[in-house]
């Protein structure tokens, strides 16, 4: 019973984003890289599934430059069994990434379940899960808050607007994209971190998977930092005076009320 988890390595949320000199990518020097927080829920969910299904093995995959191996090791230390690094470029789009992951899963499969996070917090595209499922011709659900695993079926709830839940029943194999709150990801223990360092990470190239960099469909032609706001106008006076003044400004000057 093969379980796959697709993860991405992203800049730490504290990162101050700088634009690189080419004007169309970010300057990655000095960036601290982490396993995407949503992918931690995906890894944890796979491990919990394995704990209840002893025949399951978990393969964690990531497509990206060489640095992503560190995040694969984080997932191994948490409890995944094997890791695959698909060597890909820094700015690969969701189309290439989804296709590459799908091909690798086909090669190593058949999959029983595929887990991902609901979104990577770098490009925030939130596309790879369903794109991957479509490439594999599988059912999928995203933003999943909880899942119950039956025999060949997964019953799950997906969060939509206003905190409402959509209930689904998916036949396996299927793709499940985790939302925050699906579980409480564990910390890897020190011995497991040490063990994970020694594990072999299997390498694949895009070309091994029948994909070329030129298959990319979208690219970034320019990146800019958001415009700085003007200086903050501080409103003084006692509470009633300040409140009245603020309301006047919002109504008459800013015209948002």
């Amino acid at each position: 019973m093969k379980i796959f988890v697709c993860v991405k390595q992203v800049p730490d949320t504290e990162t101050k984003i700088k634009i690189a000199s080419d004007g169309k990518s970010i300057d990655t020097s000095g960036v601290k890289w982490i396993l995407c927080p949503y992918d931690e829920f995906a890894v944890e969910e796979a491990i919990r599934f394995k704990e209840k299904n002893s025949s399951a093995t978990i393969t964690v995959l990531s497509a990206g430059p060489d640095r992503v191996v560190d995040s694969l090791r984080t997932a191994l230390a948490m409890g995944c069994d094997d890791a695959i690094h698909i060597q890909s470029t820094e700015n690969a789009d969701s189309f290439i990434t989804a296709r590459a992951l799908a091909k690798a899963i086909e090669k190593e499969g058949p999959a029983y379940l595929v887990f991902t996070g609901k979104q990577a917090i770098d490009d925030d595209a939130a596309q790879v899960h369903q794109a991957l499922a479509e490439s594999l011709d599988l059912a999928a659900a995203t933003v999943v808050l909880n899942a119950e695993y039956g025999d060949g079926v997964v019953r799950l709830s997906r969060e939509i607007e206003g905190g409402a839940l959509e209930k689904y029943e998916l036949k396996t194999p299927c793709v499940i994209a985790a939302q925050k709150g699906m579980n409480e990801p564990r910390y890897a223990s020190l011995p497991n971190i040490m063990k994970a360092k020694k594990k072999e990470v299997k390498k694949m190239n895009l070309s091994d998977l029948g994909i070329q960099e030129t298959d990319q469909k979208i690219s970034y032609s320019k990146m800019t930092l958001p415009p700085e706001r003007g200086e903050c106008k501080m409103i003084s006076g006692d509470v009633t005076t300040a409140a009245t003044e603020l309301v006047r400004i919002l109504k008459d000057e800013a015209k948002v009320i």
Binding site: A131, Y168, C232
Partner: protein, 325 residues
């Protein structure tokens, strides 16, 4: 000239505000021939055209299939992709929503095309598409090059383009049968959050009143609820308030919560951590109330008051009541 398809969503009997926003803008692009797609079960869709049939859209496609009685990611994707192939659309647009976010990526794979999620700018002029989207939760913006994508697929963030007048004309309504022959996944049941059903979702809200850790407990959020109800706002929260259990995670604004861009964002007792700012910095007007004059939130706010929120929020509620009635 580009043939553009706008996917319109609906709740009950009305087209969603965000969908109308996208459509109203598209109708003003010179160089775009715009059509609409509405998906659902046979015989249920005709009344939805009332709002949009007297517009300059070319066609309104009512695409139906028994299996589309509720939302289905693979069913919707197949239906839209087939419609695009049959009619030669060069762009597919939708408002950002839990549906479009979910199934548009499948459409992209089916059409061997690229997709830009969550655009804050999108326009068509002649043969040129201009699209901009935030990345790193709004810490930077990227312009998208679609030149290698046969179909340019994008979702557009609510409130980003602003509502335009729905240009008048007469759209031709066309009923299309999707012939799906079953779907892999579909919604079996919809469970509304208690008390949350009539509230505008944070991501669609035009005004947001947010509170942080300093609210101290969930009961105290009542003072922000009161303020919000006077101005028709939705209440949001910082992660610290969510982690402390004062508010549900669905209310969290920020890098690991919701990205919002209302016309007014009021932050009460929120320090302005980089992860929080990431989720709300594109708001049109930001107001901050904080006891600490050195709080980082003031560097990103348009208007600031150094005050105790427990005094300021009720005072604002009263001042708004006076000004609005």
């Amino acid at each position: 000239m580009k043939k553009v398809l706008v996917f319109c969503e609906y709740t009950a009997d009305k087209i969603k505000k965000g969908s109308l926003e996208v459509l109203s803008n598209a109708l003003h692009w010179d160089g775009a021939e715009v059509s609409v797609a509405i998906l659902g079960a046979p015989g249920k869709l005709a009344s939805l055209t009332n709002e949009i049939k007297n517009t300059s859209a070319k066609n309104i496609f009512l695409v139906s299939d028994e299996s589309l009685s509720t939302y289905s990611p693979d069913g919707y994707a197949k239906a839209i992709a087939n419609l695009v192939k049959e009619n030669g659309f060069q762009s597919i647009l939708g408002t950002v929503s839990s549906q479009s976010k979910d199934f548009f990526p499948r459409v992209a794979i089916r059409l061997e095309s690229g997709m830009a999620s969550d655009c804050t700018e999108f326009s068509v002029s002649g043969d040129t598409i201009k699209a901009t989207r935030p990345m790193y939760a709004g810490k930077c913006y990227a312009e998208i090059d679609f030149s290698k994508s046969p179909v340019a697929i994008a979702t557009i963030r609510p409130n980003a383009l602003g509502n335009k007048e729905l240009k008048s004309g007469s759209a031709e309504v066309k009923e299309v049968s999707a012939n799906l022959g079953g779907v892999k996944a579909k919604v079996l049941e919809l469970v509304a959050k208690s008390g949350g059903a009539d509230k505008v979702d944070l991501t669609e809200a035009d005004k947001i009143v947010s509170g942080g850790r300093s609210l101290k407990n969930s009961e105290n959020f009542k003072i922000l609820e009161d303020l919000a109800s006077v101005i028709g706002a939705t209440v949001g929260a910082s992660r610290a308030a969510v982690d402390a259990g004062y508010r549900p995670h669905t209310d969290q604004v920020g890098q690991t919560g919701k990205t919002v861009s209302p016309s007014l964002y009021m932050a009460f007792g929120i320090s302005g951590a980089i992860q929080h700012l990431a989720g709300m910095r594109t708001s049109k007007v930001i107001v901050a109330v904080n006891t600490d004059a050195a709080a980082p939130i003031f560097q990103k706010a348009d208007y600031g008051v150094v005050a105790d929120l427990f005094e300021m929020a009720p005072a604002l509620t009263e001042a708004f009541k006076k000004a609005l009635h």
